[in-house]
Each structure stands twice: as C-alpha cells, then as structure tokens.
Amino acid sequence: MARPAFIGAGIHTVLGRGVAANVEALRAAPRPPQPVPVEFANQRETVPYQLLADEPQDHGDQRLWRVLENVIEEAFEAAALTPEQRRGAALFVGSSSFDISASEAAYRRDLENDPQALPLAVSSSLGNCANRIRHRFDLRGPDYSFNTACTASANAVLYADALIRAGIVKHALVVGIELFNVITAMGFYSLDLLTRGVMKPFDSERDGLALGETCAALVLGPCNADHQFQLLGGANLCDRHSISAANPDGSSVAQVMHQALMAANLHPANIAALKTHGTASLLNDEAETAGMRRVFDQALPPLCALKPFIGHTLGACGLGELILFCACADRNFLIGTPGVCVEKSDLGIVLNQQPSALLPADFMLNYFGFGGNNTSLVISNR
C-alpha cells in the first residue's frame, strides 16, 4: 500500500488557535510561561504554564471537548474528507492525561457535598476520549489510545501510518491531547523540574521545563498534492536505564535514532534538520546530546526546539511539535529560538537561532518519555 501523507492538520496552543496563527507566532521569539495558580483542597501553589490562547480556564469539563472539537474540525476541513471517508478512518489518540481534567472537576464538585466522594466516579476509562471523538464525528474505524507519556502521540502517528500502509484503513485521524490538570501540575512541581522563565534546552543556563497545553489533530491519507509530508520511518524502543530518564551515555537515544533511520532507509547525513525533544532538564538534555553525538558525530544537522515556545506538552508533544515543524517547513523555514543555546553550551551544541530557509528534505523528530519510552520519527516533504 502507498505511503500515506499528512493531508490535514489542526492545532491549538499558547501561540494561538489554528495552524496559521501558530506558524506566525513561531517567527518571533518565545515568551515565558505565565504563573498559574493551582488550587487543591485548602492549598495553593503557582506553577508556570503555557496555557491555550484565547481559552480561559474554567475548571469544568467543557473546555476540553470544545477545544478538541475545533481542532479536529480544522484538520478534517483541511483534509477535505467525505463523510464516508471519515466514517472509515481509524482513530489514534495520544495523551498523558486524556480527560483527567474533567475527572478532577467532577471530583472537586462531589467533594463539596460529600467528603467521602469517589474520585474517578465518571470517565474511569482512558478510552473514553476516543469514544467521545468517535461519536461526535461519526467515526466507525478502529480506535487506539496510547498512554506512553511524552511519546504517546508520536507513537500514535507511527501506528496510524503502519495501519494505512498495511491496507487496513485508508485514512487515520491522530489526536494529541494535553490540557492543564492539577495532577500533572503538582506532579512536576514535586519533581522539582520546573522553570519560571523561557525554557532553554541544551543551554548552559537551562533550569527546567514549563508545562504547556496543546490539542492537535492530524489526518493521514493518500497523497493529494506535491511536497506533502510523509513518514518515511520511525522507531520506538524501551529504555531500561531508569523510569524517569534516558541513559545519560546516549546509547538508548542513539539506538532509537539509528533504528528510525534504518526504517526510513536513510543515513545520518541525509537529515537536513532535527527537531529535538529538548526538555531543558539536566538529565534529558545530557542524554539527548550524547545520543545525537553517537549518531551524527561532529556533523550534527541544524537543531531546533519547540518547547521554548509552547512548553512541554507531554503526551501531545509528539503530534503537536510534528504539526508545527511541518507547517513551518511548508512555509520554507526552520524554527529558530533566539537567545536559547546561542553559543556552544557545556553540552557543546547550539540551537538554530532565527527562522532560516528550509527546502524540501528529510528530517528527524525525537521524543523521550517517562517509563523509558523513546521514539524517533523520520519525515520527508521531498
């Protein structure tokens, strides 16, 4: 079966609603996250967050569904699928938190009336987001929800592509979801991994990550235009070094990148640019740099990072960062992060500083997550 292409995308991040708004914002410098109050029981903390633009928090459950529906509509509209094609599409959802924000809101409400109220009394299945999407958009194909931490929606893309190539479906909708929720906010607070300024991956002054919200949707299907992006190959591997970080010697990171290149039938020298995972945490950046060195040696391709702009969007970062990278590449530029990793840091690398010209080529995008899950995607718009 022919290799599918990325034929329609939708996204909503801190940068704006819609692909065009996000791309426009990516031509400027990243901005710091805002301090967001996090309230739980009678406690209050402040956590830096890159919240969705133009979508105030309401601590209820409608915000998630509203944003998700709009993003999926944008993707479907761009893909111009017929109702019959939509019905036959497979659905892949990648997230770390799914609709936990809705469960949190319900539990908080119940606790106001009953201190013995049950958490997860509603929506206790991780598959419920997918069910809601299926019903709303009348999708009757198979559905799969991935919960592999920061690689979730990247893995969803990998399998959506594989299912189409195997001839099982003709189209697939991949969705990445990550909205603010107290568990995630306070979880990362407890891990002491948060920065209050702009994220500075690989920079000598890197001091942690800022969480971000994203909803993203991508339709895969038969190529219908020139220079549409396609997945050439990808790899996903388990890193047994630690449940919270990749092996700092870079071996496991290198292994997944090598496998992705092999799957794409490419050599390191073929990669015109690389989108890093770049969480600006000491452990990740060290491991990621070591891994890139093992694969590319001294000939690193131009490196870019998206988390300084939109924060770390966890399970949605695979798809969200893929969509943004491709959208910018479609407009012939590689994302730059002025002021972040300007000079060779203690890790010995630099990030692309200004939006710079980019021709159709082959690219690599990397993602590494909790639970030892590493994923690398090789894409092309040649």
Binding site: A41, G187, N373
Partner: protein
C-alpha cells in the same frame, strides 16, 4: 503468528486483596519494590507466560487495559483534592500506564518496542492487532502481548466506578501471550485480528474466510449482544466455546479466551472470538491449535 506460550493470573479478591509480592517473585524470579497492584499483576501474568524461557532482547511489549492503573490515580487524586498533599514523585510517574511496560521490560531484559494501548471495549484485541501489524510487517520478530485489569478496593466503590450491580463479582486479571514469527513447539497461532465497522462487514469477513464449520468454535466477547451471538451461531453453525462462565467481571475477558482455548481438552481446531461494542462495531480474533 505463532503462539509460543501463554500465561494468566485470575482472582476474585475481597476488600482486603492478597499481597502479591510473593507471586511476583515466583513469576519473575525478582522482588520488585515500590510498585502497586496493577504493575504487580502485569509482572505476574507476563512472568507466568514467559516461564523459564529467555525472551529475545528485542521482544516488543504490547500492553493494554480497559481502564489503566486506577489505583494510583485514585490515590493521587484523594491526596491532592481531599487531603491537600501533592503527589510523591514516583507516585506521579507511575500514574502513566506505560510504567508497567517499563517494569515488564526490566524484568525480562527487553529493549524492543513498548506500547500501552487502551480501548474501552476492545483493549486486548487492540493490543493484539498492533502486535500482529508489527509482526506481519517484519518490524518485530517477537512480541509479548498482555492485558491487565485490577480491582481497586473497596469492592463497593469499584463496582460503582465500573457501573456494575451492587453484588456483581469482580476480578483481577492478567493475560499474556508470547508471539513470534518463527514456529516452535508452541500450542497454536493467531491467524487474524480484525476490526469490523458494522454487522455487514463482520459477515463479509467470515464468509470470505470459509472456515470449516465442523472444526471451528465461536466464542462470544463479553460486550457482544446475546442476540448477535445467537445470530452468528445460527448463520454459520459453529460450535460454542464457553470460557466466560463463571468468570467475574473485569474489562478484558477477551484476554483470557486464547489461553482457555489452547488449554481446553475438547476444543476444535479453530476459535473465532467476536466481541462487540455499544455502537455496533465488532472486533474479532481467529486462533488455531497446532
């Protein structure tokens, strides 16, 4: 794809579930600390499946659940919203369901692909389908496929969350298969896993397969409407393979049926297992005995 081995754990715990540490040690040969029951169940089932075998290091893990690790999520939510206590770092990390994949990989020294997949009605079937996809395309040669459902006591609360009757029996379950592209002395094979968008697609698929009526048994998934099951038996004349009585409720009964079929003394050569959801979609698995 060839089924090398199968392994299962099934129990109906009470409000004080048994301590599983000894069973984890028994199944994997290792003591694993600071993990909850969901991960313990995964290790027990996977360990019983692997047994004394040495898995190839590149064996991929495909792990599913109807609801994931509810225990840790409930604990974290209560601590946060009821008690005002932020989660401990490891508790937070373990709320991500693929933490179980990590511990399985670590126990058996695996470095291959690793996925946690959830589907409300077809959790096991979905994981198996993705494993078959990778095996058939040659991306992997060896796959460990499993599903876990864990009771979170007290039972009354667990039943409420699962929207069951007040006295419905509930179970812990962990069901695993080790699959491979190479034939060995294993008991059977997975011949097909398919999703069907509606009844018509299901009928078309069965018709195309031309399964031998005398040598094929049909098993009904727990979410298949009884009327659908009856219609399938009437239409195709397959014998019935009963595996669900008296199984207590857990989300992924389908995870048990392959193993039960392979162990059954008088089972047919082929098993066609069909499950359904509330939207009129179907998922099927076709297995054969060696």
């Amino acid at each position: 794809m060839h089924i090398h081995t199968v392994g299962d754990y099934y129990d109906t715990p009470g409000d004080q579930p048994p301590d599983l540490k000894a069973q984890v040690k028994d199944a994997t040969g290792q003591s694993v600390r600071r993990i909850g029951r969901f991960i313990q169940l995964a290790l027990i089932g996977a360990g019983r499946c692997v047994g004394k075998a040495t898995l190839p290091v590149e064996t991929a893990v495909y792990f599913a659940s109807g609801r994931g690790d509810m225990e840790i999520t409930i604990e974290v939510m209560q601590q946060l919203f009821r008690d005002g206590v932020p989660p401990k770092p490891l508790s937070f990390i373990n709320t991500v369901s693929n933490a179980a994949c990590f511990y399985v990989a670590q126990s058996f020294s695996l470095e291959g692909r690793s996925s946690f997949i959830c589907n409300r009605y077809f959790a096991f079937e979905s994981a198996l389908q993705l494993a078959m996809l990778d095996l058939e395309s040659g991306v992997v040669d060896s796959a460990l496929v499993g599903v876990v459902d864990a009771v979170v006591p007290p039972l009354s609360h667990h039943r409420q969350r699962l929207q069951l009757d007040a006295r419905a029996p509930v179970a812990d379950a962990s069901h695993w298969l080790w699959l491979g592209r190479e034939h060995n002395t294993g008991p059977g094979e997975i011949l097909a896993v398919r999703h069907c968008a509606d009844w018509s697609a299901l009928m078309d698929w069965i018709a195309e397969k031309n399964l031998p009526q005398a040598h094929t048994q049909l098993s009904a998934g727990q979410f298949l409407k009884p009327s659908d099951g009856a219609a399938l038996r009437d239409r195709w004349g397959f014998g019935n393979f009963e595996y669900r009585t008296p199984r207590a409720y857990h989300d992924s009964h389908s995870g048990a049926v392959i193993s039960e079929f392979l162990h059954a003394e008088n089972a047919s050569q082929f098993l066609l297992h069909i499950n359904g959801d509330d939207d009129g979609r179907y998922s099927l698995m076709l297995a054969g005995r060696h």
